[in-house]
């Protein structure tokens, strides 16, 4: 019906670059929404965790920055605990159209997880712990990973073992804890 959008070549190239870097990419809708599996950076408390990160490309991509959201919970001062949204400001400030998605996953997110910015936090509890009780902070991160961010949990969510349709909403924090296959 309509000709491909002018940024199609660029978006294609971005996705190919992600796949070439051995990232697991799931296309959700069109080429503008997709999921990328993201592993916690080595040498940080997030090591061992795995998250599904949702990427939304605005129409004006790459002139406007993508929106990034963590689908499974992550404990981090700059990521909203409830929605998983990464504060827009944090990406916007550094963004230029020359950045691409691999920058987001190779540099930006690892950087953000390694060096949170507690001054302008989205998750105040996490920021407070980070500043005042670093050990508890690390512990909490690992707890969250155990509950929400292991391969097993992800798999369980994708292929729920109990076939009832409402299984998702039956998830509670207590149950997920022991849900290893």
């Amino acid at each position: 019906m309509s000709s491909p959008p002018p940024n199609k070549k660029r978006i294609d190239a971005d996705i190919i670059k992600l796949i070439e870097a051995k990232r697991e990419v799931t296309i959700l809708r069109g080429l503008n929404e997709f999921l990328v599996k993201f592993y916690g950076p080595k040498g940080t408390a997030y090591e061992g965790g795995v998250w599904k990160v949702r990427v939304d490309l605005p129409d004006k991509y790459p002139y406007k920055s993508p929106s990034i959201g963590f689908l499974n919970k992550i404990y981090h001062p700059n990521i909203d605990e409830a929605s998983g949204t990464v504060c827009l400001d944090v990406i916007n400030q550094a963004w230029t159209p020359l950045y691409d998605l691999s920058n987001i996953f190779e540099q930006f997110l690892p950087q953000l997880l390694s060096y949170p910015n507690p001054i302008d936090p989205l998750n105040g509890d996490a920021a407070a712990l980070f500043l005042h009780k670093p050990e508890d902070y690390q512990k909490k991160i690992r707890e969250y990973i155990q509950k929400y961010a292991t391969e097993e949990v992800l798999e369980e969510q994708e292929n729920p073992s109990s076939s009832s349709e409402s299984s998702m909403s039956d998830f509670s924090e207590d149950e997920t804890e022991g849900m290893e296959l």
């Binding site: 002018p6 940024n7 070549k9 660029r10 190239a13 799931t26 959700l28 809708r29 929404e33 999921l35 599904k52 949702r54 004006k60 790459p62 002139y63 406007k64 929106s67 689908l71 499974n72 919970k73 909203d80 605990e81 409830a82 929605s83 998983g84 949204t85 504060c87 827009l88 400001d89 230029t96 159209p97 020359l98 950045y99 001054i119 302008d120 936090p121 989205l122 998750n123 105040g124 509890d125 920021a127 969510q157 994708e158 998702m168 909403s169 998830f171 509670s172 924090e173």
Partner: protein, 505 residues
């Protein structure tokens, strides 16, 4: 002779095809010869040494010169990528190439007659040394060996001793009176084999007078660079499309190149976001700023106006404590004292907000109604009345007022005002913790509280009225709609994850 004619035709054909892309060779239509416009190869980072009036001429053309700035009469150095070509025009005698050399002239704008004569002699020599088709060798020599042959190297010193100092001088003086029958501009060459009877000036410095020299060189350099840039394909780093330079722009300071389409979008997005200071080269950490002329050439006129106005606003506000005296005849910059400015020239004390006589603690009198009345009056006025009003208020100002009135309603519908500085703000995306682009304060989009700098998000925690509503009302967001208010974090999270996974399935 038939053989010679054939050789000549073949040589012209070969030259035409060799230099077709460069567009530097043209055969005469009657095939009696041709002309070369040969760019002399320059070393990279080549400069020309400027002295005396040449320095001022180059500065007047906006060229940045190298050289110490403290000593006024010292030489300065001008970077050049290209110098105007040497024009070699040749004509075949009947018996070329079997017996006679082609007759030729050399002309150039920046080489002196003396220098050109040396080149002429060298070309003669080349013919004598190996007769036969010689034109390609000549052109190649001029291109690649002119500088070394004339013992010129960067910084190049221009030999201007023979040039008339002014245009007037040129039209009145026959020249410095050369030794061997030279005119000031051309010289007779003893061309072996040509008709000895008619002396010909075969070396010509093709410039009228000294004042023309630097402007000519600067213009050629610019034109040539642009010509080459336009013909060179670039891959735009943003859209990854290959585009010719003519569809690209280059950032002046850093030399980075992107396609016009991408920069149009890039600038437009930035201007719409009010981020005019950031019209930078997109290269990571590159600080080159786009020139206003480049922005103007690319973005829509309304956007350019917005950019222009914001830029002015910004530079004025960066001056911080300076306002201008509102008296049209005065307009002296005045240092603010609170809300008041007192002009040091005309003595007027004025309110810096409404630009009328200082009114102490009273609020400014210029009300919205007054603006509206003015706009209505103007729109309903006759042509004559309009021109009187325009004289009084300024046409531009009136148009602005009308525009403001028309868009006022739109703004009221679509925007909210910053609780700190009152700037109208439209929210497109993101959470409810807003940052005002003007005063940089944080505020809550839901309740208009100015939020603490230290921890703005604290507002969305705890038990306040906006608790857990950081993302409330976000388009497409399934979080925190009005109904969700009572639900606790965990429940919302489950709703949320469920929706996400529906997408995956």
């Amino acid at each position: 002779m038939e053989e010679d004619r054939e050789s000549q035709a073949n040589e012209l054909l070969a030259l035409s095809s060799i230099f077709e892309d460069e567009e530097t060779f043209m055969a005469h239509e009657d095939k009696s010869g041709g002309s070369f416009y040969t760019d002399v190869e320059l070393p990279s980072d080549c400069t020309i040494k400027l002295i005396g009036q040449m320095v001022q001429q180059a500065r007047a053309l906006g060229i940045l010169l190298r050289g110490e700035d403290d000593e006024e009469n010292k030489a300065r150095f001008m970077l050049v990528n290209h110098l105007p070509p040497i024009e070699l025009t040749f004509n075949y005698p009947r018996d070329y190439p079997s017996k006679s050399a082609p007759s030729f002239t050399l002309s150039c704008k920046w080489l002196s007659v003396k220098q050109l004569n040396k080149l002429c002699e060298k070309l003669d020599e080349m013919w004598t040394e190996n007769q036969g088709e010689v034109i390609y060798c000549w052109a190649d020599f001029l291109k690649s060996e002119t500088l070394s042959f004339l013992k010129l190297s960067s910084p190049i010193t221009l030999d201007t001793s023979d040039l008339p100092r002014t245009m007037r001088q040129r039209s009145h003086l026959p020249g410095p009176g050369g030794d061997d029958g030279r005119t000031h501009q051309g010289a007779v060459g003893g061309n072996a084999g040509s008709d000895a009877g008619i002396p010909q000036a075969r070396a010509v410095q093709d410039i009228a007078a000294l004042p023309n020299l630097i402007p000519t060189i600067v213009k050629y350099d610019r034109d040539r660079r642009e010509y080459i840039f336009n013909k060179t394909p670039n891959e735009c780093g943003v859209c990854l499309e290959g585009k010719f330079g003519s569809d690209c722009i280059m950032f002046d300071a850093c030399g980075h190149v992107y396609c016009k389409d991408c920069m149009k979008e890039h600038f437009s997005v930035k201007i719409r976001d009010g981020d005019v200071k950031g019209l930078l080269c997109p290269d990571i950490d590159c600080e080159s700023v786009a020139l206003p002329s480049q922005v103007k050439a690319l973005v829509e006129p309304e956007l350019f106006e917005k950019y222009d106005a914001a830029l002015l606003d910004l530079s004025l506000s960066e001056m911080g404590d300076i306002v201008y005296c509102p008296r049209k005849s005065c307009e002296t910059p005045v240092v603010k004292e609170g809300n008041m400015g007192q002009c040091t020239v005309c003595g007027l004390a004025f309110c810096i907000l409404c630009k009328t006589t200082y009114h102490g603690l009273e609020p400014c009198k210029v009300s919205e109604e007054e603006y509206k009345r003015l706009a209505d009056n103007y729109e309903n006025a006759t042509e004559d009345e309009k021109s009187i009003m325009e004289q009084r208020y300024g046409k531009h100002n009136l148009r602005q007022v009308i525009e403001n009135c028309n868009s006022e309603e739109w703004i009221r519908k679509h925007s909210k005002n910053c609780p700190n500085c009152d700037r109208a703000i439209q929210k497109f995306d993101g959470c409810n913790k807003m940052t005002c682009m003007k005063c940089r304060c944080f505020f809550c989009w839901l309740c208009f509280l100015v939020l603490p700098r230290s921890d703005p998000y604290s507002h969305y925690r705890g038990g306040g009225r906006c608790a857990n509503r950081l993302f409330a009302g976000m388009e497409g967001g399934d979080m925190g709609d009005e109904e969700d208010d009572e639900e606790d974090d965990d429940v919302m999270d489950i709703v949320n994850i469920e929706n996400w996974w529906q997408f995956v399935a």
